[in-house]
């Protein structure tokens, strides 16, 4: 178990440090955040035609309201935690890669819901927006990470020699 935790902490710190370097920000994080903003705007436009995305900003031309997706709101940190947990846990690579792929989708799908709900909460009531943004959604995203990790553990093959929690 100690080995799992040490690997987990080391991997997520390395991934986090890499993610905040200017190279990673320019090549991966900012384009990815713009993609998240574009997908969010596209989903909102299915029922609200006044909405567009401009870079990392989602804007409603009808009301003049806009939100910018910043670090911490693009789901990257939650994906880093999940990837670190899956990589640190002794398991076959096939399961690791499948878990990382499906887990990233699960986190980003919930993150899209978070962005869309915050976009409308902000137009309705800024206090509720702040509360949901700073406190509630952060907990829900991390709960999503934990639940996906538990489900992933549940689908691992039964082989005691490979698993960290039996040590």
């Amino acid at each position: 178990m100690l080995r799992f935790f040490l690997f987990f902490l080391a991997i997520q710190i390395v991934l986090f440090v890499v993610s905040v370097t200017s190279i990673a920000q320019n090549l991966v994080i900012v384009p990815f955040t713009e993609l998240i903003a574009a997908i969010s705007a596209w989903l909102i436009m299915l029922f609200d035609v006044d909405v567009v995305s401009e870079g990392v900003v989602i804007r409603d031309y009808g009301h003049g309201f806009a939100v910018a997706i910043q670090a911490g709101c693009n789901g990257v940190e939650a994906v880093i935690v999940l990837v670190a947990a899956i990589l640190a846990f002794p398991s076959p690579w096939k399961y690791k890669l499948g878990g990382i792929f499906l887990g990233s989708i699960a986190v980003q799908a919930l993150n899209l819901i978070r962005i869309i709900t915050l976009f409308y909460l902000g137009q309705w009531n800024m206090k509720v927006f702040e509360w949901a943004h700073l406190y509630i959604w952060q907990a829900l995203i991390m709960l999503d990470v934990l639940i996906f990790f538990l489900v992933w553990l549940r689908y691992l093959p039964k082989d005691k020699s490979k698993f960290a929690f039996n040590e």
């Binding site: 997520q12 905040v20 005691k160």
Partner: protein, 196 residues
Amino acid sequence: MNNRPVLYFFLRVLVWLPITFSIWYYFSIIFTWPIAFAVDGSLPNLFSPVVAEIRQNGYQLTVIGRVYSSSGSVGLLRFDVNTLLYSNCLPLYTALVLASPGGEGQKWLRWLIGLVLLWLVATLSVSLEIMKHFLAEIPGAREILNFPSWAVNGLILSDLYGNLLLPALAPLVIWIALNLDYIKQLAPGLRKEDSC
């Protein structure tokens, strides 16, 4: 016996979350007090040339600092830090503990251990935020405290980690560490006897 233990666990956490968030926010002044106590007891002593005093103001900490002009005169500056940003891991952790099986005493023990650890995490994150404010944003503070530039860069990076990841990550790590037996129930493949 249910055959979807993870789903039922998830639903139990979702039921507890609004309750734990409400209690945490209602009693936020009480939950903030140990953070204020620890930060005020440490930073003004460790960095006395720039950090004068830290006061609890509801769930905010009001930091009073010293700034020095080039002529040598000293002024005071004041800014607030929202401690809820760093202690919002507590409601999630509490919901996880309440949703997990175990006797009342066992749950209280796990919750208290988690509470202490999460307070330490919040204190560290708040301290990093305050020191980043001084060292990276207030001219002259770095020279007065004699911080090399690499140490300031390290502090800014640590503050980012303490802002974006640490408070969110801590409740999951603590809950997993204290609930290994339950995790083995949720994921039967992890149990030794199943593979014999």
